[in-house]
């Protein structure tokens, strides 16, 4: 329902009159109040809460730097007069001949890695403080969508410089889709637009990277923030501040986002930009982790570089892909039977339910051992990302925040992080027997952490949760 037209005194200052004119046509003051000056955030938000606003900052950095890069970049895989692919040459042109082009490109390439650092930190915050729990499931699901789209944007963007690593990385990842039985080869053909990664692939990846996927990303970011502002921010104590309100209906433990957190976040932005600028100016390749040296060789469809590795932010999932060998399939089959025996002998299913579980286990075994391990590797890699979406329903703990969970949970979450680092580390190394073993244990731990969460999250002694947030004024 539109509000009634509001008249103000003709003697009011011009600024007030203008605002009134706008407010009668567009809910400017209303939006400002709802999302900034009267959006109450818990007063105990800590270090981990910088990363949400920082993610928004990096998004803006990527969009702005990207717009300027597109003014000079050419998505063209054909060879120029010098025998160099046009796309590769245009990136070198940006680096060497466009005024300040090197800076804009390094901002964009460093921004990609920082986007993932910031988002992984942001997600970890959600994990330890239970920010995905009721009523914030949709915020979490929109966030998982953002992560998936970010991955697609990073992957399509990585092809654009048309270097050796770009080319072979894309070739391998598109072939992942070809491993899907029956529809796989046609699907891979549809993604590539040719029988091999080529000019058609480069052009469509460019289109996806600069317009299609960013539009989806922006939509998801808006949905993420609208959902957040509907239910309000969680906090390190995992307490709903809306439960206790003062006489005027403001949460007792809440403070207006503006000016308190806008100023607070501005400090985070300052520190972040110092680190960001240091990397852009002094270590733009991030020691080979942010930009690969192999990518300074133009794409050659006939020769794979001696060592190809994904960028660091995909490396953990890549480890899981490599972990799935024919041997590993027996371990997975054993896990399926372990779950099936649990379902048959321990859970309270009726005889039909038990028959279904048994039948499911038999079919599962046939599929696990009947289809190539290569396909299951792709499934596990995808599942490792998708499983995050189910977190709100896997967590059965009576309390939200790790602060009030049993102490051993801290070690478990610590082990989860270390495991993620180990998987990342082996993901960027060349394949070897030892890295395969580590990746296999890491994969089991990663999946077990989530799949067994409905059980372990209920174990142990939980600490009493206070009714007010813990906060020391300073």
């Amino acid at each position: 329902m539109a509000a009634e037209y509001k008249e103000i005194s003709p003697n009011a200052p011009a600024g007030e009159q203008l605002l009134n004119w706008i407010d009668n046509r567009f809910p400017l003051s209303k939006l400002y109040k709802e999302h900034l000056s009267e959006y109450y955030a818990p007063k105990n938000l800590n270090f981990w809460y910088f990363f949400g606003s920082l993610a928004l900052l990096v998004l803006v950095i990527q969009i702005v730097s990207g717009i300027f890069l597109v003014m000079h970049y050419k998505p063209d895989a054909t060879l120029n007069a010098a025998g160099v692919p046009v796309a590769f040459a245009s990136v070198e042109y940006i680096m060497r001949e466009v005024e300040w082009g090197w800076l804009i490109r390094y901002i964009h390439s460093t921004g990609a890695s920082f986007f993932f650092i910031v988002v992984y930190m942001h997600m970890f915050r959600g994990l330890i403080y239970g920010s995905y729990r009721r009523p914030r499931e949709l915020i979490w699901l929109f966030g998982c969508g953002i992560l998936l789209v970010m991955m697609a944007i990073a992957f399509t963007g990585y092809l654009l410089p048309w270097g050796q690593m770009s080319f072979w990385g894309a070739a391998v990842i598109v072939n992942l889709f070809a491993a899907i039985p029956i529809i796989g080869p046609d699907l891979a053909l549809l993604i590539r637009g040719d029988f091999v990664v080529g000019d058609a692939t480069l052009n469509r990846f460019f289109s996806l990277h600069v317009i299609a996927l960013p539009l989806v990303l922006l939509g998801l970011v808006v949905a993420h923030i609208i959902a957040l502002h509907e239910v309000g921010s969680n906090n390190p104590d995992g307490i709903e501040i809306k439960k206790l309100k003062d006489a005027s209906g403001k949460p007792l433990d809440g403070i207006p986002f503006h000016p308190y957190y806008s100023v607070h976040d501005l400090m985070g932005v300052g520190v972040f930009l110092m680190i960001f600028a240091a990397v852009v100016f002094f270590a733009p390749s991030g020691g080979g982790f942010f930009l690969k040296y192999t990518n300074l060789i133009p794409a050659d469809p006939l020769v794979t570089p001696a060592h190809i590795a994904p960028v660091w932010y995909f490396a953990a999932y890549y480890s899981m892909l490599r972990a799935v060998t024919t041997e590993f399939m027996y371990v997975l089959t054993a896990a399926v039977w372990f779950a099936a025996f649990h379902g048959i002998f321990r859970a309270g299913f009726g005889s039909t339910g038990k028959a279904l579980v048994l039948g499911g286990a038999v079919v599962g075994t046939l599929m696990l051992l009947g289809l190539d391990a290569m396909f299951w590797g792709v499934v596990i890699m995808g599942a490792a990302v998708v499983i995050l979406c189910f977190l709100p329903w896997l967590d059965r703990s009576p309390v939200a925040s790790i602060r009030y969970r049993p102490t051993w949970n801290k070690y478990l979450y610590g082990a989860f992080v270390i495991n993620f680092f180990i998987l990342t580390y082996f993901g960027v190394l060349p394949p070897s027997a030892i890295s395969t073993r580590f990746s296999q244990f890491g994969t089991l731990f990663y999946l077990g952490f989530f799949l067994l969460m409905p059980w372990w999250s209920r174990w142990g002694d939980f600490k009493p949760v206070p009714s007010r947030v813990s906060f020391t004024p300073h």
Binding site: G193, A200, M374
Partner: protein, 198 residues
């Protein structure tokens, strides 16, 4: 609103309008999806290539491009040929029986080739499509499986192939390397992309 106010006649029209709109939207999707399939030019680019092998020496490999992919021509030495039989117990599919990349009939042998000394194979790993590197020197070497008989090693996920392009057992790659259709036009001229049956 109560149920009585629903005009069933209008509702039928509403449903059929939505259905027709849906059909129209689906029809419009066809040209868009078709447009991202390989174009007529990409489909036509599969011509066969002639390869002059007169300068290839025993123990050497040359690479030619066919349909945008590397095709290897390896001139195997007698020692290399001898290794093919010895490695067979360690291979996943020594007889090339899997049908994912069907081996042409004339290459359904230990050498996977028309002439025992000349291997013609698509140099693309059957795992995720990297091009394996040549590691012809036998013996234990860093980064290679122990007791290495000489062959090809994929740098991406560590799949190993023998000198006939047959994959070793328990490797990420499920299949032997693809053998393209090929024939010899003369002793020194090879045609990749067409064989006599075609």
């Amino acid at each position: 609103m109560s149920e009585a106010t629903v005009d069933n006649g209008r509702r039928v029209w509403l449903i059929s309008t939505c259905a027709m709109g849906g059909v129209g939207a689906a029809a419009v999707a066809v040209p868009f999806v078709s447009s991202i399939q390989p174009s007529a030019r990409a489909r036509a680019a599969g011509a066969s290539v002639e390869v002059d092998i007169s300068r290839l020496q025993p123990g050497e490999k040359m690479v030619v491009e066919w349909r945008g992919r590397p095709v290897w021509v390896l001139y195997r030495t007698p020692e290399m040929i001898a290794s093919l039989e010895k490695v067979e117990p360690r291979l996943a599919d020594p007889q090339s029986e899997r049908r994912v990349f069907p081996t042409p009939e004339y290459a359904l042998n230990r050498y996977r080739s028309i002439k025992p000394e000349l291997l013609v194979a698509v140099g693309v790993c059957t795992h995720f499509g990297c091009s394996p590197t040549s590691r012809f020197t036998p013996g234990d070497q860093p980064g290679l499986p122990s007791d290495w008989p000489g062959g090809f090693f994929c740098p991406c996920h560590g799949s190993a192939f023998d000198l006939s392009g047959r994959v070793f057992a328990n490797m990420p790659a499920p299949d032997n390397l693809e053998i393209p259709p090929h024939q010899y036009l003369s002793d020194t001229l090879l045609l990749v992309g067409e064989d006599q049956q075609a």
